[in-house]
């Protein structure tokens, strides 16, 4: 099975890091993973996207994701942006950082309050809640291809010490509550 995932957020929110960790987790599970950043004139705060694929078989293609099975939105305001949802598969999953899920016909919508989880775990840099590990946890759960222990392992591999532990707690908290 091949799952195609689009991550949507703002420059500085760590969507590329999240998509790499998702690919890493898939490989850790004995599967295949791919993370493709969309590079442009990146600026902190500007809308950005990344593509990721997880699969049971080798991933050969390198084009970006146009028909995602899952869209993860790191910044609530971008949920309504046409570029966020374009091409999403019927019955696909829209996972939004927020307190309530939006309502999009034909799409399974879910919310995870990644911002609150990040703040609770002290993941705030220069006034920004760093939501990427919480969103990673939620997307991992939604993918059905990444287990809890693997999630914990790839997050801990990325950051050491106390910072690593805070990120692990955020990822696991989101993993627990994420639907749908």
């Amino acid at each position: 099975m091949l799952l195609e995932i689009r991550l949507r957020g703002r420059g500085g929110q760590g969507i590329v890091t999240a998509s790499e960790m998702l690919a890493d987790a898939a490989v850790e599970e004995g599967r295949y993973g791919q993370s493709i950043p969309a590079f442009g004139a990146e600026r902190r705060g500007a809308p950005v996207a990344a593509s990721a694929r997880v699969s049971d078989s080798p991933i050969r293609r390198h084009s970006l994701v146009y028909s995602p099975d899952i869209v993860g939105v790191f910044e609530r305001q971008l949920a309504g942006d046409p570029e966020t949802l374009v091409g999403i598969k019927g019955g696909g999953i829209l996972l939004v950082n927020g307190r309530s899920a939006p309502d999009v016909p034909g799409v399974r919508c879910a919310a995870v309050d990644a911002t609150a989880i990040a703040v609770e775990n002290g993941l705030v840099v220069a006034g920004w809640a760093v939501v990427n590990t919480a969103m990673l946890g939620a997307i991992s759960k939604a993918s059905g291809m990444v287990g809890r222990a693997t999630l914990e392992k790839v997050v801990r591999r990325r950051w050491r010490g106390e910072l690593g532990e805070r990120n692990v707690r955020a990822a696991l908290a989101a993993y627990e509550v994420a639907g749908p």
Partner: protein, 398 residues
């Protein structure tokens, strides 16, 4: 583990135990030499990292190091490759067995950082063996194999290999590293006495001095012969690396389902995987499609192309490059061996994505042209060309 294409190249150069790295940073290549400088600084690689003021100097330093018997590596991209152009020819025509990674990036103007193959293909007449990779894993594998090919006594020519900007250089994929003892067994230490030119400060001599018309053709024919012999050496290296790694390797080409194909897509680089997915999808719809991926562009795999497209009704050559006033470079060269059957498609210039659906469309178009009896010669399509450059439907985020 996972790694980006850039880091995979750095891991490969570490596995190959390169002794001298000289480089100048340029997007999107910089991560390769950054990582190598970290390996050198930490002692994971033993050797010398030479910081230089330009790409011309980077390749000059590698030239000198390799001519003195060291295993030398550099990496560059687009404008940087152009800036080292004079030394590219010095290194190739001077028979210096070193290795260079080229992150294939569009040439300016207008300024661009995205992928295109014209930068590397524009250097094809310099006496280098020239290859283009499809995946992160292949970028790592090729980083090791390239040294073995370059240093083979039958070859002794430099090797450059390309990887597509961003869609390989910055894309992270699964990567399996080769145990160091396996890499060492595959790639023994360079024996300097085998070099066509060995510079020795204890025995000073000049090389490349004024050569008259009475000798130059013979000098050139030695390089011609080396590139011809490299075809066999490349296949042997791919076979040996495949056995050592357990990962099947492409030599000059990769033949994907061409055997019974009615239409063959000829392509190089990172989007070859999209072409394979397209071939599978076409077969599901009842069209027998295959992909001939060109791993090597120099030496040009003429025989392999002829073999692969043998029974096909249509051939669609897809170029992510262009020679103005003539056509796609690979299509022009393929046409020289398969004749008028090669329908030419120019796609993905400046980094525009080529999706599996695009390859399906090109294959169908080539079949249509062949079946309608249109002479395919001169059938050149700029795939997805828009009437207005700002029209929507392009690559997301780019």
């Amino acid at each position: 583990m996972i790694a980006t294409g850039n880091h995979a190249v750095a891991y490969g150069v570490r596995s190959a135990r390169a002794e001298v790295v000289a480089a100048y940073p340029i997007t999107p290549q910089t991560q390769i030499v950054e990582k190598l400088s970290e390996f050198m600084a930490s002692g994971e690689m033993r050797g010398r990292y030479i910081r230089v003021e330009s790409e011309h100097s980077a390749l000059s330093a590698c030239y000198g190091a390799a001519a003195c018997g060291a295993r030398a590596f550099t990496a560059t991209s687009s404008q940087g490759l152009l800036y080292m152009n004079e030394m590219v020819f010095w290194t190739g025509l001077g028979r210096i067995p070193m290795v260079m990674a080229v992150v294939n990036r569009t040439l300016a103007p207008p300024w661009s950082i995205w992928n295109e193959h014209t930068d590397q293909l524009a250097q094809r007449d310099a006496g280098w063996i020239s290859m283009i990779c499809e995946s992160v894993q292949e970028a790592y594998d090729t980083s090791i194999m390239a040294f073995r090919v370059a240093e083979d006594a039958e070859v002794m020519q430099p090797v450059m290999f390309g990887l597509d900007a961003f869609s390989l250089s910055h894309t992270a994929e699964r990567l399996d590293l080769m145990p160091q003892e396996d890499a060492d067994a595959f790639l023994p230490r360079l024996d300097p006495s085998m070099l066509p030119v060995l510079m020795d400060t204890r025995s000073p001599a000049t090389y490349g001095n004024l050569t008259g018309p009475d000798a130059m053709m013979e000098v050139r024919s030695a390089i011609r012969d080396a590139l011809e012999r490299s075809k066999r050496v490349i296949e042997e290296a791919a076979g040996a690396f495949g056995r050592a790694s357990g990962r099947r390797q492409a030599g000059l080409v990769e033949d994907y389902r061409c055997g019974d194909a009615e239409v063959v897509i000829v392509v190089a680089g990172a989007s070859s995987g999209d072409a394979k997915d397209a071939a599978d999808a076409l077969r599901d719809q009842g069209t027998r499609a295959g992909v001939l991926r060109m791993k090597a562009v120099r030496p040009f795999p003429s025989e392999a192309i002829v073999r692969a497209v043998g029974g096909a009704k249509a051939v669609a050559v897809v170029d992510r490059d262009y020679s103005f006033g003539m056509g796609g470079i690979l299509a022009t060269e393929a046409a020289s061996v398969v004749g008028g059957r090669a329908a030419r498609y120019v796609a993905g210039l400046g980094g525009r994505d080529i999706r599996p659906e695009d390859f399906m469309g090109m294959a169908a178009d080539a079949l249509r042209a062949a079946e309608s009896g249109d002479p395919a010669q001169g059938h050149e399509v700029w795939w997805g060309l828009r009437r207005s450059p700002s029209a929507p439907g392009g690559q997301g985020g780019a």
